[in-house]
Symmetry: C2
Subunit: 122 residues, 2 copies
């Protein structure tokens, strides 16, 4: 399958899950996974999902602007996303950038080894 | 050496070189290096530097806002940068995000295996 197509499917799945059921993201991370969220480093699926589910907003809606993909040289794929994040009750959407390093699983799927998220403040 | 410190040194070197002498970036890429620049995919040091030196502006000044770093699981480092790009003669700086996958060289330095650049349009 075309890596760009895989990246696009992953990104849509990730943000749909984030917006509908953040706890469901646990399946996409493993113990060795790393998240850097606005500069804060968190390791392991359980801690990462604890962070994401404790963010100080309940409802949000991600919109994807761009998705770029490259093979990572480690058997995985680097996926670079830009988009906007609309929080419920806020007038303006926030711009964000995020990168994922996706690694293949024995089941033929992918998990997130590296995840770095930044808001792009105006 | 602390990976975050290495990442910061690399990023400062990269943008200082970009702003002063773009052709000098050739030393930071190799034949297997990949650049995705605003969605355009380019492979190999020579083609990457040809692209960067042919961008439609002569003078520019990068300012770094954030640098995040994680080990990539491939013996290298993922570096995620946000910042602004001021083009000579333009009133407003452009916001950008960029990620690098740095791999070690036998000489104890690093080269850029993966590079993805996006402007964050307002």
């Amino acid at each position: 399958m075309d890596p760009d197509a895989v990246a696009k499917v992953f990104v849509e799945h990730y943000y749909t899950t984030f917006d509908a059921n953040r706890a469901g993201l646990a399946n996409l991370y493993q113990d060795g996974s790393m998240l850097t969220f606005e500069g804060q480093k968190i390791q392991g699926s359980q801690s990462i999902v604890a962070k994401l589910t404790s963010l100080p907003f309940q409802q949000c809606q991600h919109s994807i602007t761009t998705v770029d993909c490259q093979p990572s040289g480690a058997g995985g794929m680097l996926v670079f996303v830009s988009g906007t994040l609309q929080l419920a009750g806020e007038q303006h959407a926030l711009k964000f950038s995020q990168m994922f390093h996706l690694m293949p699983t024995p089941q033929g799927s992918f998990y997130v080894l590296n995840d770095i998220f930044r808001l792009n403040y105006a």
